[in-house]
Structures are given as C-alpha cells and as structure tokens.
Symmetry: C2
Subunit: 191 residues, 2 copies
C-alpha cells in the first residue's frame, strides 16, 4: 500500500536494533482518518470471506481492528495479555513472547466469545517473529473456529515470522513489507 | 442512553465486590456496530466543541475512542501504562492507581503528540474512583492543551470519582450511570 509506505517513511523513526517507532499514527497516537484507509484496504482484501469476527491482541492492534470491524460490521475480540480480576476462569490460554517488551505473557480469550460458527480475520499492527500471530491462530484453533487469514499493517520481512507462517499455508496480507531498515540507509520496502 | 442501559442489563454480569463484567460488548469483545451508536452519542454531546484530538488510556478505552474519533475525523492519543522500549524519554508522566488491577502505574504520553493548540475530548470505558481521568486531565494540563470534558460509557456513580470531578467544574458526560448494583438486586441506574 503505497500511501502507507509513504506514511512510514515520513512519520516513522528508526532506532538502533531495527526498532521502528510509528507512534505518530499507529501505536500511541492513532491517525484515525489515515488508518481508515488502511482498514478499507483490509476490507478489500478479505471482503469475499464470510467473516463473523475480527481477532486481535492488546494493545496496539485494537485501533485498526475496530476501524476494520466497523466496515465489516462485525465485532472485535481482543486477546488479553494477563489475568486481571475481570477475567473468569473459562478461558483459552496460550503463551506469547513479546519482542518489544522482552517478556512472555499468558494470552487469553474467554471461551464464550469464540466458537465453531466463527469465521475469523486476525489483525495486528506488526509482524516480526510471528509469535503473537501464532498465539492468536492457536486460540482460534482451540475454539474450533476458522481463521481466513491475517492482516498486518507493517511486516518486518527481514525477520522470519511471515515466511514461516506463509509456509504453513496461512494467508498473510501485509500492507507494508520492510525488506531492510537502518538508521543511515533508511527503509527499503519489498515491492 | 437507554439502549446502553438495556445492553448492560442484558449482557453485563455482576460479581461480588461490585464488579461489573461487560466483556461481551465493551472491554474484551467489542460490539462494534453497537459501540458505534455509543460513539454517535458522544459526538452529539460534544460536536459543538472544536475538538482536535481524543485522549484515552490503554487498553479498554481505545476501541470507543477510535470509533468516536472516526466520526469527529480527528486522531486518537492513548496514554500508555508502562515504559516499553518503543517509548522515548520525552514524555509527560503521571501516576495512576488501577482499581481493577490493584496496582499503581506510570502513565505517559509523548510530548510531541499533545500541545497548546490541542482541544481534547477525554474518553474512557469506566468511571469509578476517577483516578484514570484525573491522570489524563493532568497530562492535558502538562501539555498546555485544553480539555473540553470527559465522555464515559459506564459510571459507577456509587463511587466518588464522578462527584469529585464535577465539583471541580469538569464536564463529565456518562452515558450510563449506575446508582447501585448487587448480585441479588441487579443494577439500578440514575435517570
């Protein structure tokens, strides 16, 4: 998505360790008018699927999930990363490693909100090592639901998550795929 | 908002300790088609204000903030609860106590995303003791921005946050105000 690549180059900032900060429009501030165009792109990619629910993981997937769900006219379900007192015991749980936060979290969904009748589109802001997506795909499987694929705003294609998931036959639609990034050279996208 | 009160009675569940679970439509699953009606209500209440940005706090405010921002056609800024490696040092920080999670968090926004030209609508899912809203109001003040008021989906009016904030002259618009709730007696709303 050309507009998205331009946005990343204009507003993203690169830090050592291949950290890309896109807090200007994606995961701190959310540029809602712009992200609506991203949501429309996901809608166009997946509109032929009989999607009943959009699944994401807290926190930074929630905004794009809601804007996309708004076009599909379906609910969002966001998996939660730890167990607060507002969560009951009747949950599906997977463990997910966070690259950003350097920790392992229990990620849960309540069983009552996902079942065999659900056709699920998984959305997230980033795909890097793929651990979050694999966790969400496992949750969909545990629930007996069907995942039609994953929509990703920014894929760090120099990490192996996207390759590994596509090799498993998962449909991964990343709207911007970063081939390489570097403080000096900047960002190169895969065409 | 009558529709919202009906939704809370139908889909909310009350637990001992005056815990209300609304994971069916608000803070685990998000019933986006329904929450859009809630967003329209916020729009109608605040549409005469020259709002430039909607401010909320992760996690459960993000969905309603994005849907409302979509109608106002403005960005969302969500305050973050801890300091991951994707956040720089140039931030405003307040401390907020979470009733749900029984802890104190540093809550931050990056300085670059809020400034004296901003007119801010604060949105959140719940208002109980008011600590989160006070933190967000403090962040707006630190940034030199102006807050026009706070939109709340569900106010636990039997806790003192709403009263305390209104006494300070803050405009608080809660779409459902719970007077009392109890496992046996159910929920009573303030008219």
């Amino acid at each position: 998505m050309k507009l998205l690549e331009e946005k990343i180059i204009k507003e993203g900032r690169i830090y050592p360790g291949q950290v890309l900060k896109v807090g200007a429009f994606l995961n701190h501030q959310i540029d809602v008018p712009f992200m609506n165009k991203v949501a429309e792109e996901f809608y166009n990619l997946f509109k032929d699927e009989p999607i009943t629910k959009i699944l994401t993981i807290e926190t930074s997937g929630i905004g794009i999930a809601c804007l996309t769900a708004n076009i599909f006219n379906v609910p969002v379900l966001y998996a939660k990363k730890s167990k607060g007192i507002n969560i009951g015991d009747d949950v599906y749980t997977v463990q997910v490693t966070s690259y950003t936060h350097k920790n392992v979290s229990n990620v849960i969904i309540e069983k009552q909100f996902l079942g065999p009748d659900d056709v699920v589109l998984i959305l997230d802001d980033f795909l890097a090592n793929g651990c979050a997506l694999e966790g969400l795909l496992d949750l969909v499987k545990m629930a007996g639901a069907r995942a039609v694929g994953c929509g990703i705003v920014i894929e760090k294609a120099f990490q192996d998550g996207g390759t590994r998931l596509r090799e498993k036959g998962i449909r991964i639609e990343s709207l911007a795929r970063i081939k390489s990034m570097d403080v000096v050279e900047g960002i190169v996208f895969i065409d």
